[in-house]
C-alpha cells in the first residue's frame, strides 16, 4: 500500500511526462508568450501569455520543467523564483482587465529555495498571489499536471476549479522532507508519501480538487482534445456564475472545517 503512493510521486516526477509548454501548445491555438514581472526579471520557470481556446482569448500560465538536461537547467527544474510568481500575477491581473479566463498548469517540486529568492521575498510573492487570486473576477482553472509542491504550487492554484492528472501529486511537503523531519530518515519516504494523502484520489476525497483527469493516451492528440473539451465546458459554466468570487471564497473557506474539533 505504501509503495503505491510513492510510485505516484515517482511517476509525477518522471521526465517523460508532458510539461507545461506541451499542454499550452497542444490545447490552445496561437499562443503568444509574454515575459517579465516588470520589477526585476523574467523567470523561465514560469511561462505565460495569451492564446485562443475555442475561438476566444484566454490567459495561460504554466510552470515549465523542460525535457532535456539543457532545458531543465534553463527552467531551474520548474522551481520558480519570486519574479515568476509576480509575472504570473501580472498576467492574471491583465486577464482580469480584459475579461479573459485564466488557465494554469502546475508542475513544480516547490518554489525555489535560494538566497536570492529569499532576498526578493519568495514568501511575500506567494502570499500576494493567494490574496489577489482570491478576488479575481474572471474564471480561473488550475490543472496539476505533475508535481504540486506546497506553497509554490498553491500560488497558482487559488482557482474556481482545481483538477489533477491521474498520476499527479499535490502535497504540503515532499515525502522525503517529511520523513527526514518527522522520522530523521529520508528512507521512510514511502511511509510519508502514504501518510500525506497526496494522490489525486486523496485530494479529491479531501475536497481539495474537483476532477481527476485520465492519463489514457497521455501526450497524444486524444489526450489533449479531451482536456480542451473539459476546459471549454467548464469555462462556460464559470462564465455564467454571477457570484464567482463568492463561490471561490466558499470553496477554500470550507476546506478543513470538518477536520477540526469544535467544542
Amino acid at each position: 500500500m505504501s509503495e503505491a503512493a510513492y510510485d505516484r510521486v515517482k511517476l509525477a516526477r518522471s521526465s517523460n511526462r508532458p510539461t507545461g509548454l506541451d499542454y499550452i501548445k497542444n490545447i490552445f491555438r496561437g499562443f503568444i508568450e509574454f515575459h517579465g514581472d516588470r520589477r526585476y526579471a523574467d523567470d523561465p520557470a514560469i511561462v505565460g501569455g495569451i492564446a485562443s481556446l475555442n475561438g476566444s482569448p484566454v490567459t495561460v500560465i504554466a510552470i515549465e520543467k523542460g525535457h532535456t538536461a539543457k532545458e531543465r537547467t534553463l527552467r531551474n527544474f520548474g522551481a520558480p523564483n519570486p519574479e515568476g510568481y509576480r509575472k504570473a500575477l501580472r498576467l492574471m491581473k491583465q486577464a482580469e482587465k480584459f475579461g479573459r479566463p485564466i488557465i494554469c498548469f502546475i508542475d513544480t517540486s516547490g518554489a525555489y529555495c535560494g538566497i536570492g529568492a529569499e532576498e526578493r521575498g519568495q514568501g511575500q510573492a506567494i502570499a500576494e498571489n493567494l490574496t489577489e487570486m482570491s478576488t479575481l473576477c474572471v474564471p480561473v482553472i488550475s490543472v496539476l499536471i505533475g508535481e504540486g509542491g506546497s506553497g509554490g504550487a498553491l500560488a497558482l492554484a487559488v482557482a474556481d476549479r482545481v483538477w489533477m492528472l491521474q498520476n499527479a501529486v499535490y502535497s504540503v511537503i515532499s515525502p522525503e522532507g517529511c520523513a527526514s523531519i518527522l522520522w530523521k530518515d529520508a528512507a521512510k519516504a514511502q511511509t510519508a508519501a502514504e501518510s500525506l494523502k497526496l494522490t489525486a484520489e486523496d485530494a479529491k476525497s479531501l475536497g481539495v480538487i474537483e476532477r481527476i483527469l485520465s492519463e489514457k493516451d497521455i501526450g497524444q492528440k486524444e489526450f489533449y482534445d479531451r482536456i480542451r473539451t473539459l476546459l471549454i465546458r467548464e469555462i462556460d459554466v464559470l462564465t455564467n456564475d454571477l457570484d464567482l468570487v463568492g463561490h471561490r471564497y466558499d470553496r477554500f473557506r470550507n476546506i478543513g472545517v470538518s477536520a477540526v474539533i469544535k467544542e
Binding site: 519568495q122 502570499a127 493567494l130 490574496t131 506553497g151
Partner: protein, 285 residues
C-alpha cells in the same frame, strides 16, 4: 507621542537599571543564559523586562504572556478556544504528539484569538504559540484565524496578529496547505472592507505562514533578531551549496530588503501599536 520616538531603541536596563517594576536579586535565584551575550540573567529581571536581555536579545514568549503584555489589563476576551486539531488523515503518531503538546503547553492549539483593547481602542488579536508544535498551521489554526478576520469584518475592527511558525503542519497534509489560501482570502475580505491589519513577526516566522497572512498585512513589523523567511536556512544551503550571508533571514535583513515596515523592540510594541490604531481612526471604547 510621535512615532519617531519609537525608532530609538529604549532599554530601561541600560538607563540605570530601573524598570517599571524594580526587582531585587535574591541569592540563589534561578538564572537564564542569554544565547547572544552569554550573560546569566536572573529570571525575575528578565520577566520585568518582557523577556528581553539588556543586550537586546528577545527570548521567546508564550502567547498568553504576550497577550498580557500587549492588551489593556483584563480586556482580552478569547474567541474560538474550542476549535482544535483532530487527526483528519490518521497520520501516524499525530494524535499522541498533539496530546503530549497539549498537556505540556497548556494550550489546545497553536494560536490564541480574541478581542482586546490597546490604549483603550478595541481590536481583534491573534497570537501564535511557539510552544505548540512551533506554531505550525493546521486546519484548526487556519479556521481560527479565518474566523477572526470574518469577525473583524462583521464588527468593523482592526486586526493585530503576532506570528510565530515553523510553517504548515505536515501531519494534516493538503488540508494544512489549503489553510494558506483560506486565511489569505479572509485577510483580503477584511482589507477590502477598508479595515486595518497589522502583523508583528516574531522568531521564527517561516514557511506557509510567511507565504500567507504574515506577509499580507497593511503594516508589517518585526521583533529584533527574529528569523523571517520562506525556506529553511538548511534547505537553502543544501539546495544552493552556498554558505549563507551574515544575518540571513533575520528581521534586519528582511527590513533591508524591503519586506517589513519597521523593527520594533518588544518593550515599545504596545505604545507603537496603540499609536497606529489611533492614527487609523481607532476610538476609545
Amino acid at each position: 507621542m510621535a512615532l519617531m520616538n519609537f525608532l530609538k531603541p529604549k532599554n530601561k536596563l541600560e538607563e540605570g537599571g530601573r524598570t517599571s517594576a524594580p526587582v531585587q536579586r535574591d541569592a540563589g535565584e534561578p538564572e537564564k543564559s542569554c544565547p547572544n551575550c552569554r550573560k546569566d540573567i536572573p529570571l525575575s529581571r528578565l520577566w520585568a523586562n518582557d523577556l528581553v536581555c539588556s543586550c537586546g536579545y528577545h527570548f521567546r514568549m508564550k502567547a498568553r504572556n504576550r497577550i498580557r503584555m500587549i492588551a489593556d489589563k483584563g480586556s482580552f476576551h478569547e474567541l474560538y478556544s474550542g476549535i482544535k486539531a483532530d487527526n483528519p488523515l490518521n497520520f501516524p503518531g499525530y494524535k499522541d504528539k498533539i496530546e503530549t503538546v497539549r498537556s505540556a503547553s497548556g494550550e489546545q492549539e497553536a494560536v490564541v484569538c480574541g478581542t482586546a483593547t490597546l490604549g483603550g481602542q478595541k481590536c481583534c488579536l491573534f497570537v501564535m504559540e511557539s510552544y505548540f508544535m512551533m506554531g505550525s498551521m493546521g486546519s484548526a489554526v487556519g479556521e481560527k484565524i479565518t474566523s477572526l478576520f470574518e469577525y473583524a469584518v462583521q464588527y468593523r475592527l482592526p486586526v493585530i496578529g503576532f506570528t510565530v511558525s515553523g510553517g504548515a503542519r505536515m501531519q494534516e497534509g493538503l488540508l494544512s496547505l489549503m489553510q494558506m489560501a483560506k486565511t489569505s482570502a479572509a485577510v483580503r475580505l477584511h482589507s477590502d472592507a477598508g479595515l486595518l491589519y497589522i502583523a508583528v513577526l516574531t522568531d521564527p516566522t517561516t514557511g506557509g505562514v510567511t507565504a500567507s497572512f504574515a506577509m499580507e498585512a497593511d503594516i508589517i513589523l518585526a521583533e529584533p533578531g527574529a528569523t523571517v523567511g520562506f525556506a529553511g536556512a538548511r534547505v537553502i544551503e543544501q539546495t544552493t551549496k552556498k554558505s549563507l550571508p551574515d544575518g540571513f533571514q533575520k528581521s534586519e535583513f528582511v527590513l533591508e530588503h524591503g519586506f517589513v515596515d519597521s523593527i520594533v523592540s518588544r518593550r515599545d510594541q504596545k505604545r507603537y501599536l496603540a499609536e497606529l490604531l489611533k492614527m487609523h481612526g481607532g476610538r476609545a471604547v
